[in-house]
Symmetry: C2
Subunit: 378 residues, 2 copies
Amino acid sequence: MAASDHPLAEQGREKPIFSFEVIAQDGRARAGVLHTPHGDILTPVFAPVGTQATVKAITPAQLEELGASLVLSNTYHLYLRPGDELVAEMGGLHRFMNWPRPMLTDSGGFQVFSLAEARKIDEDGVTFKSHIDGSQHRLTPEKSIAIQENLGADIMMAFDECAPPYDREYNQRAMQRTHAWLERCLLAKTRPDQALFGIVQGGVFPDLRAESARFVASLDLPGNAIGGLSVGESKEEMYAMLDVVEALLPAGKPRYLMGVGAPDDLLNGVLRGIDIFDCVLPTRLARHNAAMTLTGRLNLVNASFTHNQRPIDENCACYTCRNFSRAYLRHLINAKEMLSATLLSIHNLHTLLELARQMRQAILEARFESFMKTILMK
Amino acid sequence: MAASDHPLAEQGREKPIFSFEVIAQDGRARAGVLHTPHGDILTPVFAPVGTQATVKAITPAQLEELGASLVLSNTYHLYLRPGDELVAEMGGLHRFMNWPRPMLTDSGGFQVFSLAEARKIDEDGVTFKSHIDGSQHRLTPEKSIAIQENLGADIMMAFDECAPPYDREYNQRAMQRTHAWLERCLLAKTRPDQALFGIVQGGVFPDLRAESARFVASLDLPGNAIGGLSVGESKEEMYAMLDVVEALLPAGKPRYLMGVGAPDDLLNGVLRGIDIFDCVLPTRLARHNAAMTLTGRLNLVNASFTHNQRPIDENCACYTCRNFSRAYLRHLINAKEMLSATLLSIHNLHTLLELARQMRQAILEARFESFMKTILMK
C-alpha cells in the first residue's frame, strides 16, 4: 500500500504544526528539527522520562539547565494517579508539572502488558488491576487516546501490544492487534494540537517488522516509533530490526526508538536513521548509585572512591562534575542523603543529552561514523 | 569580671577577620554585618542546617538562589561519617560540600547529650556510642575543637552541655562544666581563620543564665550563643531568658540563638537583640509534607488540596510558589516522589530567609515593632 492510499492517511497528517525537517544527512544518520506547539526539538534527541509527571529527583529548572527539550510521561501512571481528568482540570500536563517545552506521552500499553498476571487481553482492549490498590481498570485504544488528550502532550503514542521478542505466533497476533488499534486511535483522536505516532512491532522477525513498518508508514503519521526492542533480545538482533524498519519508514518523518538509552544503542540507533530516544535508565541508575559515562558505569558506593577527589568525569561539563568529588558523592550515598540521586541524575541525563548534541554536530559536519568510532573505542 | 579582665580574653579576640558591625538599631533589634573569611553575613540571619554536609534535598546552587549566606553543619555526624580527617583531606567542608559562603559547625555536644542511654559524662568529656554502628567514641573540648578545625568552618562552637530545662541542680553543674570546657576549647584552638563562639547555658533559671552570660562575655569572643532553649520550656520562659542574657552579652558581638526556627521565635528573638538563628525545622517539615507560612503550616497531604490550583502562598516569590500548585505538590507526595521534599524545602527555607531579610529592612527603616505586629496579627 503506498503512503497516500490508506483511507485514514489524510487524518494522519498534521504537517502545519508537526512538520519535520531533515537539515543534514550523513549516511543514514540525520540531523533534523521537529516542530511542535511547545517549541522545536532538535534531533537526534534523548528524552528524559518523567513517569509520574516529574523526572525523578530533578526540578524542571534543572532539566532546562541540562538543555532537555522533549520530556516523556506515562499514561498508565497518570491515569491511576492523580488521574488524567485532574491533570486536564489543572490546565494539562505541561502546566501541572511546569514543563513548558515539548512533551510526549506513551499509550499505557507497555506498562499494562508488563503487569503479566494482573491483566487480560482481548481484541477490544486490556483489563488490568492497578499496581497501587488492586482496583480493576480497562484500557482500549479509544480510552488511551481520551486519557492522552486530557494529559495534552504534544506527541501521543498509539495503544500497542508489546509481545515477548522470540514468540513468533504471539508477535504476529500482537502486531495485527497493534495495527487495528492504531487505526482506532487515529479515528478516536480529536485535538489538532497533538500529533499521534504509530508504533512498529514484530519482535525479532524481519518479515513481521517489515510488514508492520509498511502498515504504519501507510498512515502517513507525523512520526513513527519502533517498539518492542531492548526487551530481552540481543543488541545485534535489535540493530538488525532497525535496519529492516528504517528502509520502510518514511524518510521525511521522525523515527522514535522507544525505551532505549544505553550510549552505544543511541549511537547505533542514529547510525540506522533513528531520531528520538527515551529511557528511564539515567535516572534509575542514579537512584542506584551508578554514574553513566561514555566509557562505562561507576558504582559510587565502591570503597575505592572513599578518598577520590576527582569528579565522575573530568571531561564532563555538568553541574555535578564541575562541583563535586567522587568521595563526596560516595559520602552522600552512605549517609542516605537524597542529594546523591539528584546529583547523579543530573550527571547521567547530561551524559545522554550531550551525546545527542554531539551526534547532531557530527552529522552536521558529515563525520558521524568517525565520531561514533571515537566514542566506542574509548 | 569586666570584659578585658579574663586571662584568656586576648585569645578570644579575632577582630581583624571576624569583626561585627551594628549598622542600625531599633529598640534592641539590630541590623548588622559579620565579616568572615568566606564573606559577609548580613544580620539578622537564618542559617539552614546541612547536618551531613548537605542541606537535605537541596543543591548548593538552589541554596545560593535562595540567598542563604551562613550554613550550619554537624560535628557529631561528620566525625562519625565520613570522618573529619577525610573532610580535611578533601580540602575542608566548604570545598567538600561545595558551599563557598560562610559556614558554622556545632560542637557535637547537643547530639551526644541527646543520646541519653548511650552516653556517659564526666568532668573531662563524654563517652558515647555511635547511632550508626554502636561503636564507642569519646568527645572532649579538645577533641571537638580538633574535629572542627579539620572541618574548617568559619565559626566553631564551644563544646557545651545542654541540660533538661527545669532541673536546677543539673543546670548549675552543666553550666559550670560548660564554662570550664569553653576555656579548654579556647586554649585548644589553633587556627586564626576560624572564630570560636561561646555558649550561655542555665536552663530556665534567670540567675544561672545571668551568671553564664557574664562568664561567656568575659572571654571577649567574636560571637556569643545561647543554647539550651527551645528544648521543652514555654515560649514565655525562652523569651524571659533572652531578656536576661541580652543585657549581659556585649552589644558589639553577634548573638546566636541556637536551634530556633519558628517564625514567631525569630521575631521575638530579634526583638530581644538576637542576630543569628539556625534550625532543621524548615527542611524537616518539608520531608513531612508541611509547608511553612507566616500565618501557619499547610499539610499538603490533605485531600482538600486535591484540586487546588493555587501555590502554597500567592505572596511568596520562591521557585516553588512561582511554578507549582498545591494539587501538584499533593500529587508528588502521594506518588512518593522525591521532588516534593525538594520543592517544600525550597519554599520553607525561603520563608525564613525572606523573613530575616524583611526584619533587617524593617530595622534599617526603624519600624521593627510595627513590622513584627503586622506579621503576628496575620
